[in-house]
């Protein structure tokens, strides 16, 4: 059967590092050790003032040129091969689908994927569009791409994700600044013949009642930015922000996650008619150590099957799962034929999970 198969993954992290020592100097009562204990994060990578997600994905010269597929400046041992493979596909006009996820676009309009199409030099035959999700971006993106490939609408896809939440974060809001980092990631997916689908089944869900718990309140059409929105307020937890900054109700997000995610995992393995024991690796959205430790305990997943990869990059929102997946591939922890479970959850609320049978072309 014709079906979508992941061929390669890579990611990019900006150069600037934000360490716990730097943060602890800003937040009275918070030591570097306490930040590490609560978050599991040693440092976050932060986009420079001039860097935007289009640069993260496509380079294009000037201050963005170091963030690039075009320049081949991607992280990880697979970077060179990935860049060559992507470059070859771009050069021969083979990419016919570009799906881009971000919550920090260059503009309200045009669609950022159109800017990336031009910067990457993709043909005008490419279907390119954005979707707006955060921590659930990866399973949703795989569902979109698989649908279009399996339906015969596309044959070679770039699934791209990039976010620069740092640009929404007030420097004195430790509730979010200690967690989030910036990153971009890319997945090459092609139509192949396989005995069964390589990606799926999927379980996707939404609960918009949680929208206010992770939000940038002002700046779009419902609440256009006004001068008053730039007034700083300090909350009871001694976090300062404006209405144009990112707000996160951490306890509410935690409650949502511990209630929703175990059921999500059970549902996706049930949909595949397997058990969690049949899964070789579980790769959840890399939210924070507190959340991941709680979920691992609830689901009773052994350490050797449970992937953690955030200590050197933080919670990179849409890119956490591809970055973690690439880390285990690069480390040789993924063998051909392995069954991987990925699950994303958060802002929206939105969640999704799916299985991946790892079987790229040789």
């Amino acid at each position: 059967m014709r079906t979508a198969v992941i061929q390669g993954i890579d990611h990019y992290l900006p150069e600037e590092r934000l360490t716990n020592a730097e943060l602890s100097a800003l937040y009275p009562g918070w030591t570097a050790d306490k930040i590490l204990e609560k978050t599991g994060i040693l440092e976050r990578r932060i986009a420079a003032d001039t860097e935007r997600v289009t640069g993260a994905i496509s380079g294009g010269g000037g201050p963005n040129s170091s963030w690039a597929i075009a320049s081949g400046n991607w992280a990880g041992r697979a970077a060179a091969a990935f860049a060559v493979r992507i470059g070859a596909r771009i050069a021969d006009g083979g990419i016919d689908l570009l799906v881009f996820c971000t919550q920090s676009p260059d503009h309200f309009l045009p669609t950022t994927a159109c800017l990336i199409q031009e910067r990457l030099g993709l043909g005008t035959n490419v279907a390119a569009f954005d979707y707006n999700l955060g921590c659930s971006a990866f399973p949703y993106g795989l569902a979109i791409v698989r649908g279009l490939i399996d339906a015969g609408i596309a044959s070679t896809a770039l699934l791209l994700m990039a976010d620069t939440y740092s640009k929404f974060i007030h420097p004195l809001d430790k509730s979010v600044r200690t967690l989030f980092g910036d990153a971009a990631s890319a997945v090459l997916i092609t139509a192949e013949e396989r005995a069964a689908p390589s990606i799926g089944p999927f379980v996707l869900g939404t609960d918009g009642t949680g929208a206010g718990n992770l939000i940038v309140p002002a700046g779009a059409m419902r609440h256009p930015l006004a001068t008053a929105d730039l007034a700083e307020k300090t909350d009871k937890s001694d976090n300062t922000r404006t209405a144009a900054n990112l707000f996160m109700n951490g306890p509410a997000i935690f409650e949502f996650t511990v209630k929703r995610v175990p059921a999500l995992i059970r549902d996706v393995v049930a949909a595949a008619e397997i058990s969690l024991d049949d899964v070789d690796l579980v790769i959840l959205h890399q939210a924070s150590e507190m959340l991941l430790a709680t979920l691992q305990g609830s689901l009773r997943i052994p350490d050797e099957k449970f992937v953690r990869h955030y200590s050197r990059c933080g919670n990179t929102v849409s890119s956490t799962i591809p970055i973690a997946l690439q880390s285990v591939i690069d480390a040789g922890r993924v063998a051909r034929g392995d069954v991987l479970l990925v699950a994303g959850f958060g802002v929206g609320y939105s969640w999704g999970a799916n299985l991946i049978r790892w079987e790229p072309n040789a």
Binding site: K38, K236, A293
Partner: protein
């Protein structure tokens, strides 16, 4: 779990040795979102219990927290 046991456990988790049932939370800087997360994580990890984050955040005193947890447990 008795109220006294729960209070001792929460005080240890929060590293808040003088925590009492009468402790007012709504005007204490130590009762921040991280403290609330610590309690949510402890209850989930040790008791497989999920209490309402909103009710926890609205607790005015430690007695309110104990009431919430024990009501959820039962």
């Amino acid at each position: 779990m008795t109220r006294a046991e729960l209070l001792r456990k929460l005080a240890a988790q929060l590293d808040w040795p003088d925590l009492q049932e009468s402790t007012r939370l709504d005007d204490d800087a130590r009762w921040d979102s991280v403290a609330q997360l610590d309690i949510l994580m402890l209850l989930q990890r040790d008791h497989a219990m999920s209490v309402s984050a909103q009710e926890l955040q609205e607790s005015a005193t430690m007695a309110d927290v104990l009431d919430l947890v024990l009501a959820t447990e039962s």
